[in-house]
């Protein structure tokens, strides 16, 4: 189930990314850049979620089916999944705030591009990394039930 959902998510996000890049505006608009960031985060997290138990260390093969990875692959999968999901959620919030700035506060594109967009991308990318990277240093993504 996780594999099917992840695959559909990867394909959909890839098509959306391709559509944005092939569009007339490309990445020149703030909205396209925000959706592009959302899609990239979703592709990363969904792709590694699709791999599911294949990245789990071989030693767990008796408990987890298809475990063929190592501690490093498991850690990589864990950090990318949680970072991707949190980044996607943060980008979703930012898209809402972007709409709010346009509709309620009547902000122009120039103002959003110069003042707000930097914060949108900065918080969306740096917040998950600051939160989750320290856990990686103690191998917190391997066998704890909190993540994988």
């Amino acid at each position: 189930m996780l594999g099917v959902g992840g695959s559909v998510s990867v394909v959909s996000s890839t098509f959306l990314t391709w559509y944005i890049l092939r569009s007339h505006d490309g990445l020149s608009t703030t909205y396209h850049r925000l959706v592009f960031g959302l899609c990239v985060a979703d592709i990363m997290s969904s792709f590694f979620a699709t791999l599911s138990s294949a990245m789990v260390p071989k030693e767990m093969n008796c408990l987890v089916p298809n475990a063929q990875g190592s501690t490093a692959t498991c850690s990589a999968q864990g950090i990318i999944i949680v970072t991707g999901y949190t980044t996607a959620a943060a980008y979703n919030c930012c898209i809402c705030l972007y709409y709010l700035a346009i509709i309620k506060f009547n902000k122009k594109d120039g103002y959003i591009k110069n003042k707000l967009e930097l914060w949108f991308h900065g918080i969306s990318i740096s917040f998950p990394l600051i939160i989750y990277l320290p856990t990686l240093s103690i191998k917190g993504y391997n066998s704890t039930s909190a993540y994988i």
Partner: protein, 154 residues
């Protein structure tokens, strides 16, 4: 839990896995570094994001409703009717169309009501600038709502 499993007979069946588990869970250290990010991550995913989305949606909906009410007070509908009437006077042959206001008869009235209910049917209706503005903002709100519903579904 690990000690209980180790003391069972399962240790003979899966010794490698249990030793690995015990090493990783018990010997990893730094539970704060695991628990705090997990809690912060869960809170941000399950509480902060939905709250932010709902709040922004409500604010946007209130703003759009306010704009629409203001446009009604300005008489956007009257403007639209005036333009429609002028269009009918300019093109008398289009009087028999479904969008004509001056048509008589029950069937024609029903047609008019249906065409007003389904905007796509009323193709001869000239666009009114005021209504286009309000529908554009409402469409943006609906688009944002759609994005957020998709995310919530995922």
């Amino acid at each position: 839990m690990i000690h209980r499993i180790v003391s069972d007979t399962k240790v003979e069946i899966y010794p490698t896995a249990l030793i690995y588990l015990a090493d990783e869970v018990m010997g990893g250290g730094g539970p704060i570094l695991v628990l705090v990010p997990a809690l912060v991550g869960l809170l941000s995913m399950l509480v902060v994001t939905p709250t932010a989305i709902v709040c922004t949606m409500l604010l946007m909906y209130k703003a759009v409703s306010k704009i629409e009410k203001k446009m009604l007070n300005y008489g956007a509908n009257l403007l639209q009717l005036k333009i429609l009437h002028r269009n009918n006077l300019d093109n008398p042959e289009s009087k028999s169309d479904t969008c004509s206001v001056n048509d008589q008869g029950i069937i024609n009235r029903i047609k008019i009501v249906c065409s007003w209910m389904i905007p796509g049917l009323c193709r001869d209706q000239p666009p009114s600038r005021a209504n286009r503005v309000q529908s554009h903002k409402r469409a943006v709100v609906y688009m944002a709502l759609g994005c957020d519903l998709v995310w919530a579904l995922v």
